[in-house]
Symmetry: C2
Subunit: 324 residues, 2 copies
């Protein structure tokens, strides 16, 4: 079903992924998993050469978790192109995942303007640069928006769609429909704002967490425990609004009446300009290294990805059972 | 194992739960599940009378999810006492879960001071009142601390331990050991601070979420989606510090160097005194009611609890398999 809808949206054309680091490679899996043909290009030949192996390993693990049914077939839909023109010519959609620098991305957009079909849409994976900065002075601007995934995109479904003032409604609607068709979870961010929604939410929580460590209120391990054994359970299947909607007898307005003043008082207790000073960063780094040495970081990232796969698999089987 | 350790800590004595609303009843399950004898008292006879039935239903669902092995045996360890003295005399530990009002809790503490064994420890379930306010002028103060659960305590393991300046180290260590022995996840909050750790973290995220709705950046449904299909997945098994520790090649200090300035800039973009004005509360309430009518709130809470049970069950089986 998903694959038919995706192919129809693209009118039979392929998807191009430009930039094949972790994010780009993850995107290639997302599109190919949904039955689309994918062409991948990376300006660095070594990166490009490593793509098929990296994706194969990911797909095998995903199949082990029940997240893809036929890993070799998915892999076969992903081709590495030797040059940009081969990757993007005739594509219905381009996912840009190159280096997070305005000059690099803007340079690519200029090339894409020359190479793309007149109705092809471009999504940028940028986590921090508004697409208006990436398309200044380009006619292509009407067909470019931010399509920001969480890393890795093939394991975590949420995607932020952020148009610039120049982006046309058709491009926004196309990107939204495409993300739904490839089984991602698109969120509309109505205007360019620093950090978009996801990193703003993460940012304010991090800020409070750092301040609590700085003030000696709790260790970073105990703060982590508060989230992973408490707060985070609810947030893994309900957002913050649904959480509070269910946490007062009369719903969210009732909650705001009961607890709004407490939360405002908490918020007001932090000044605006607190930093993460080097001494504090050093303390947190030292505490983390007691739990996980520098050498073990990579292994722990693999563990994280297996946990994410398990969550994705449990979501998938709930969906198939017709549960919300 | 857990039950032996818990019984040894209590020197064979029972646990008393005073106040038998949702929180108190949940606590009774926590202690009885670990093999402890529990006496429950509520000043309202109707509430007290409803306790066994409520707990029986909870335990049946927990058994269905593999969270208790022998629900009837657990239920049998919970007795409802007709008066406070019967509930607390001879108890090794009292979990106070009465109405969230200083006068009510302080009145109870005065009675407990008369009734308790000289070494019994008292934990308060308060989510917002520092225990120094609850024990002003009482000798009992050295043996009282906040032991704040997430609701419902029998499904979500995290517990915040917050001593007052008067609380003795022995009482803190006892409460910490007891919580571990009954399979909760204790977090040490080193001093009384508004909202403790959990509600401070929730509070800052909620504040940003409300502000994003107020500014028209996203709908509350899209903000919820950003968390439940993205951010919250990681936070359900890793805290915020471990998350960023794994999100930069060199760990948390590397992350702070790369992304600290962005997060500080996001934090600085919010003024301190933003409120949740009535008009905004009304808008959010109206949007939530489109997804879930007032009539459906109760049903959705049951759904939430089933999801939490599923998470707890998957944690339990990971633990039994020896996985972190």
């Amino acid at each position: 079903m998903a694959s038919l809808a995706a192919r129809q949206l693209l009118k039979g054309r392929h998807v191009a992924v430009v930039g094949a680091g972790l994010v780009g490679a993850g995107w290639a899996i997302v599109f190919a998993r949904a039955g689309l043909e994918v062409r991948v290009f990376d300006a660095n030949p070594d990166t490009a050469a490593g793509v098929p192996d990296f994706i194969r390993v990911q797909l095998e693990q995903m199949q082990h978790h029940g997240l893809v049914d036929d890993a070799p077939a998915v892999l076969q839909r992903i081709r590495v192109s030797a040059d940009l023109a081969h990757a993007v010519r005739g594509a219905g959609y381009v996912q840009e995942s190159v280096l997070e620098r305005v000059d690099v991305k803007l340079g690519l957009m200029r090339q894409l303007q020359e190479l793309l079909d007149p109705d092809a849409v471009v999504g940028s994976s940028t986590s921090g640069i508004g697409s208006s900065k990436l398309t200044q002075g380009l006619d292509l601007a009407t067909r470019v928006l931010v399509v920001h995934p969480v890393n890795p995109p093939h394991l975590v479904p949420v995607v932020e769609l952020v148009p610039s003032p120049a982006t046309g409604a058709a491009a926004c609607d196309f990107a939204h429909a495409l993300m739904l068709a490839v089984d991602q979870s698109p969120v509309r961010v109505n205007r360019e704002i620093e950090g978009f929604v996801l990193n703003r939410l993460q940012g304010v929580l991090l800020r409070e967490a750092w301040a609590l460590v700085a003030d000696g209120v709790a260790t970073c391990e105990d703060i982590d425990k508060t989230v992973r054994d408490g707060l985070g359970w609810r947030w893994s299947f309900m957002g913050p609004f649904e959480t509070i909607d269910l946490n007062a007898p009369g719903g969210v307005a009732d909650y705001a009446a009961r607890l709004g003043p407490l939360y405002q008082s908490i918020a007001a207790s932090r000044s605006q300009d607190e930093q993460w000073p080097p001494e504090l960063v050093g303390r947190v780094e030292a505490e983390r290294r007691r739990y996980l040495s520098q050498d073990e970081l990579g292994q722990r990232r693999d563990w994280r990805d297996r946990r994410l796969m398990a969550i994705a698999a449990s979501r998938r089987s709930r969906k198939e059972d017709g549960k919300a």
